[in-house]
């Protein structure tokens, strides 16, 4: 074993090992990007130079300096429409995740505190029954009952997502409550409320955060799919699913009308997905 070979292995190893630091930086970059997106979502006119509903250009102008994403079949600026669509997408997904998080937290904490109990088993079979219905179909059933629209679609997606949150939170609560420090808190007199607030909630916070980031993206996809099928927002709304569905007819001679909004949606979801992964790695 010569020292020279050792040094080379050391160097490659060091390069491999410098990854954690890169990851923290990557997480910060991604979070900044996300913050920028949210800002644009709240104030779309900051970057959109055209009115998303105005017929500003010649129909089917390909992407150019004036119309970054081109124009659609009646000459509206696609870039402005995509930027305004971001607002709808973010808001709907936030609503869906809020519904899922509240429902999931209630079910998860109630069943996780006393695993195997009657309430746990009852909630368990109800959750499983909801999971047995594919989420698209579940959302469609809710829409059948309450009519189409962005709000109903978001809530419908949220109900489907709630089952996953409930499972995750139940598991985390169960795991956290078997920790010795939780029993230690009980034996030194802490009541159930104090145990949950001081010891269990902080322990489940970070896995739930990562899961939320991941499923925020998935909710955006699901809402897009419902709009694409014609059950979310309806034209002339610039919602991304609506844009893609509208552009499908003109795919042969104006690909950008359908492809670009989907690309933007995919990019946002990839970003959220990556943030979720990095959050999970960096507990």
């Amino acid at each position: 074993m010569t020292d020279a070979t050792l040094t080379t292995t050391t160097r490659t190893a060091e390069r491999r090992l410098s990854r954690p630091r890169v990851r923290v930086r990557e997480l910060h970059v991604h979070l900044t990007l996300l913050a920028g997106l949210v800002l644009v979502g709240m104030f779309p006119s900051l970057v959109a130079r055209h009115d998303p509903y105005a017929l500003d250009g010649i129909p089917f102008t390909p992407p150019s300096g004036t119309f970054w994403f081109g124009t659609d079949e009646i000459g509206r600026d696609l870039f402005s429409r995509v930027v305004h669509g971001l607002q709808i997408s973010l808001f709907s997904a936030a609503l869906a995740i809020a519904v899922a998080l509240v429902l999931g937290a209630v079910i998860g904490v109630l069943s996780g505190l006393r695993p195997g109990g009657l309430l746990d088993r009852l909630l368990g079979i109800v959750t499983e029954s909801v999971m047995a219905i594919p989420s698209v179909l579940l959302a469609l059933a809710v829409i059948t009952a309450y009519g189409r629209g962005a709000f109903v679609a978001a809530v419908a997606i949220g109900i489907g997502e709630a089952t996953g949150f409930a499972r995750l939170i139940r598991g985390c609560v169960m795991q956290a409550s078997t920790q010795t420090y939780v029993e230690a808190a009980r034996t030194c007199g802490a009541g159930p409320l104090r145990v949950v607030v001081r010891h269990i909630v902080p322990a489940i916070f970070s896995p739930v955060l990562a899961y939320t980031a991941l499923h925020f993206g998935l909710a955006m996809l699901a809402i897009g799919a419902l709009s694409y099928l014609g059950f979310g927002e309806s034209p002339p709304s610039p919602e991304w699913g609506v844009l893609i569905a509208g552009g499908q007819k003109y795919l042969a001679h104006a690909w950008w009308v359908a492809i670009i909004p989907g690309l933007v949606l995919a990019a946002v979801v990839v970003l959220l997905n990556r943030i979720a992964y990095l959050l999970q790695e960096h507990r």
Binding site: D3, T9, T180, A185, G189
Partner: protein, 536 residues
Amino acid sequence: MTEPLLAVSELTVRYRRGRSWDTALDSVSLEIPRGEVTAVIGESGSGKSTLAHSVVRLLPGNAVVDSGRIELAGEPLPAKSEREFRRVRGRRIGFVPQDPIASLNPTKTIGAQLRECFTLTGSALPPAAVTGRLRQDLRDVGFADPDDVMRRYPHELSGGMRQRVLVTMAFSKRPELVIADEPTSALDVLVGREVLAAIQRVREKHSATVVLITHDLVLARRHASHVVVLQRGRVVEAGPAERVFTEPHHPYTASLLRSSARVERGRVLSIAETVRPRQVPEQDRHADPVIELTGVSKRFGPARHGTQAVDDVSLSVREGSTFALVGGSGSGKTTTSRIILGLERPDRGTVRVLGQDVPALSRKRLRELRRHMQVVYQSPFASLNPRMRLADIIAEPLVAYRIGRRADRRDRVLQLLDLVHLPASYAERRPGELSGGQRQRVAIARALALNPRLLVLDEPVSALDATIQAQIMALLGEIQTALDLTYFLITHDLAVVAEVAQHVAVMRAGRLVEQGAAADVLRNPAHDYTRELLAA
């Protein structure tokens, strides 16, 4: 001395921890003589496991070998290719890992995993010969029916049996060198003794060299002819065991030897010899016993398939004394303590603590009672919430019982930190910044916050290093005298009992096999099991 089998020179290994580097081994040089057992002794963080893993080059991904040279039988180990090195592992160096539970593939039979030793190294032996040889090897480590063992899956064997299978694996290709990394630390004392006996037997039969990595001085003294002492990644002393144990050259070795009551002037003392002459105080205090159990039984699981965790246990603990409950894992000692604390309900029998009938107490009354009885848990790493500051951890009982105002609690926390000899500045720290011993001090401070009369000590030092164990036991003794506390001590270690307890009860499979004054039981054990434990 002849040429050494293994020679390590100037080995430096570092680990990446977040943004910084920890040096685990700092230019370590040592020689392992051929054909003998060499013990590498060190406390946690000494780098002894890193040393073992460096030799077989199975370091975790965040480790980097900075420099060093390792020679086996005079030739340097191949450095360049992993493929070349693979020929050394198994064939020339065998390895017995620390944790027998996770070290066998759960979905393959023992036989398949043993046979793999031969197929992976491209052995020329025909399958039938391999089976025959494995059968003999398994018999050598003490399995009466090798064919049955080979048909089984790991989860069907006990920890000790799994470790003996791993020993068979390590020796199967008749390597010159076998490294055993803390082979008994995850096992009960008696089981561990059998595993070491098996290693010794097989080593002698195949005249192999063994490196025994351990933190246990008694073990090293009994089994090794050479000793290497590591402290914080450096070799502080090496030499024949006889010499190192009788006249240590380095002050660290001397302090290690002092911390173990059982090794004195190079000789392992029997536990009976280490019993401190302690008067049994306050025998005539005429007070009610603090804890009184009569005929307590507790069963887990369904009627037919369950286990009788506690079986007809009766004992009584006098005020101001230390009562030790001794037993191996699964003996029911922890369940007994949970019954005393009111965390489990007994099926039968009465439980009286501080004059109260514990199982009959309402939740509110039990909470009142818990003010007077507190617990110190085994693992100081698990018993403190890593997200809380020490001040909040120690004050938690005060907050829970709404005692005092913020400023009063703050004063009390500082007072308690002082009591356990931690600086006041630690109040703002979190458990992650503390060593194991310091964390256990925090756990003790929290237990004392309410001025309890009784402390249940659940293996309070078994997760700690020997030198730290001695310090914590000393602290507990000091506090007991100062605050006039009663201790209910749960432990597997009779050496601890010999040091501190006035009364002892020995538990096995849910039953008390023997109890009485500590000095009597340890000097003249009446039961075979106690005798076996004492001999370990």
